[in-house]
Amino acid sequence: MATGSESQTDDLSTRDEESGAGEIEARVGLRYTLKQVKRDTTARIGIYTVGFVTLVALLAAIDYYLFDYAVAEAVWYSPVRDPDQVNRLLPPVGMENQFGAGAIEHPMGTDHRGRDVFVRLFYGTRIAITVGFMATGIGLIGGTLIGSVSGYYGGWIDDLLQRVTETVYAIPFLVLVIAFMTAFGRDLTFAMIGVGITSIPVFNRLIRSRVVSIREEDYIEAARAAGVKDRNIIFRHVIPNSFAPVLVQATLQIGVSILIVAGLSFLGFGAQPPTPSWGQMLSASRNYMLPAPTFSLFPGIAILITVIGFNILGDGLQDALDPRINN
């Protein structure tokens, strides 16, 4: 064994022990995370991308909820209403297709109903981000509840819950969400709930394995002996201890959820026309691939950039929060 690496790990472990409980708390907390992320270049790129996309989504959401697209309409084009002029499916500026030449006011061209693609992409961000966070939130909360109860109590509760999640996981999740939406509703709300439910097993497995290992720790035994309620033990000790891996998984899961919901919208499950969503724009573009190929290009790039942002952030967080795994 190389002395170099030995002394490095020794160094880390002694730092841990010496600094005591307060520091351990800090190592899993939010402030510690942010500090680590600042030091890691990959994580920083990820956080900038995610921050940018989220900001765009926020602006779109404000306009949508408070002004019903009035702001966008005032300064530019309506993302939902058909414009008066009928020059349909214009290409991006600088290009030409059978419908005419791209115009400067439509930097990315127009869609099949003459609406500005750029404005629709802008509003699509709101849906993608909402869906990503909501679906992941549902999966996270559901998975944490099931995983911690299952891992903490063990026995038949554990067996039952694990068999159920295993079964849910056994149906390919896109198929399951489609079946779920057919049963309950085809709109975006059920897409989020459906995707959220299918991501429960991911968090369940993560939390459960950590709970099982933490359950046997001395300080949990001590807390239990001291009469601390089970629920309090789970929420005060077990869950905070799983902060780092759950954060990493959740970040990655947001990207996955955005991809799945885009796919659902592409199939006609999810945001319904005329609501601007990326997946649904791609679905509409299918009929115009030959005359207007760029119509299919931009929504895909928007999805790619958004999801890549979350994936880079997830990878970066993993590196930053787990010093032992160094790539």
Binding site: R163, V164, E166, T167, V168, Y169, A170, I171, P172, F173, L174, V175, L176, I178, A179, F180, T182, A183, F184, G255, L259, I260, A262, G263, F266, L267, G279, L282, S285, R286, M289, L290, P293, S296, L297, P299, G300, I303, L304, V307, I308, N311, I312, D315, I325, N327
Partner: protein, 331 residues
Amino acid sequence: MGLLRYTLWRLVQSIPVLIGIITITFFLANQIPGDPVEIMLGPSPAQEQVEAIQARYGLDRPAHERYLTYLSGVASGDLGQSIYYDRPVLEMILLRLPVTLYLTVSAFMFAIATAIPLGVISAKRRNKPADHVSRIVSLVGVSTPSFWIGLMLIIVFAFYLGWFPARGLPLPWEAPADIRGAETQLQVIRTSLHHLAMPMVALGTLQMAQITRIERSSMVESLQGEYVKLARAYGVPESTIVRKHAFQVAQLPVITIIGLGLSTALGGAVLTETVFEIQGMGRLIITAINNQDYELIMGTTFMFGVAFVVGVIITDVAYAYIDPRVAYGDE
């Protein structure tokens, strides 16, 4: 012997999961709004017609009774009747399943064949240019929607370059008479592969990226293993170490990921089949849903579950084959 017993044990274990899948499917199908009779017979049918249909599909009986009937039906290989196609569900599935399996299995073969060399090279040249390229490729791969890759492939390779056909997927074992422009079986196979190329890449890219990532990290870890140090100390050539000693151990997490990736790939097949207009299981379930064909919805959903469960068992057995610790008990 150990391996065979393990396989059987895994098969037995999957029975409750399959029953669970049926239960979930039945429950969901039961929630679907709308009246199937109305869909079949139009808005104002004659009373006798309605009763006849209800009796035929058992719609007049309570849900738990129908559930038990359905369960025993599935056990005896009867998945019910498709209202839309007016054929047994199983018949429709057997017609479409081979297409989806052909597509999915090819996508995985493509993914594995590209990902393993990419991941191994990446691990061997950690933090060198080749590694960076491979990591960027896999990062983009896991972040791109598969159906969009399909659209882009069609625009570039079908519409502009005209290299590959944009729609359909004939099976390589179909009769030459059924395929336009094919006279011999060899030509059928060629046509089939020609159609396969783009959907395979579209569906396989995500898997490729995921496998590359796992292959890399797993190989990096394995190359630092004590057994690699031992092999080096005994003069085993570096190439043998990479190909044999480190490689085989490193494949264990890769196999696990392939098993789990099956879920994504089978779901992704629904999208890929839509993009390339392939008549497989994915299109079947969408058609079933759009026509509120209950038993077909249940049957296809169940079959997707079965495909995934069987796939996972295959990967588990492959895992046990490589890792003797699984099949031979302890540790």
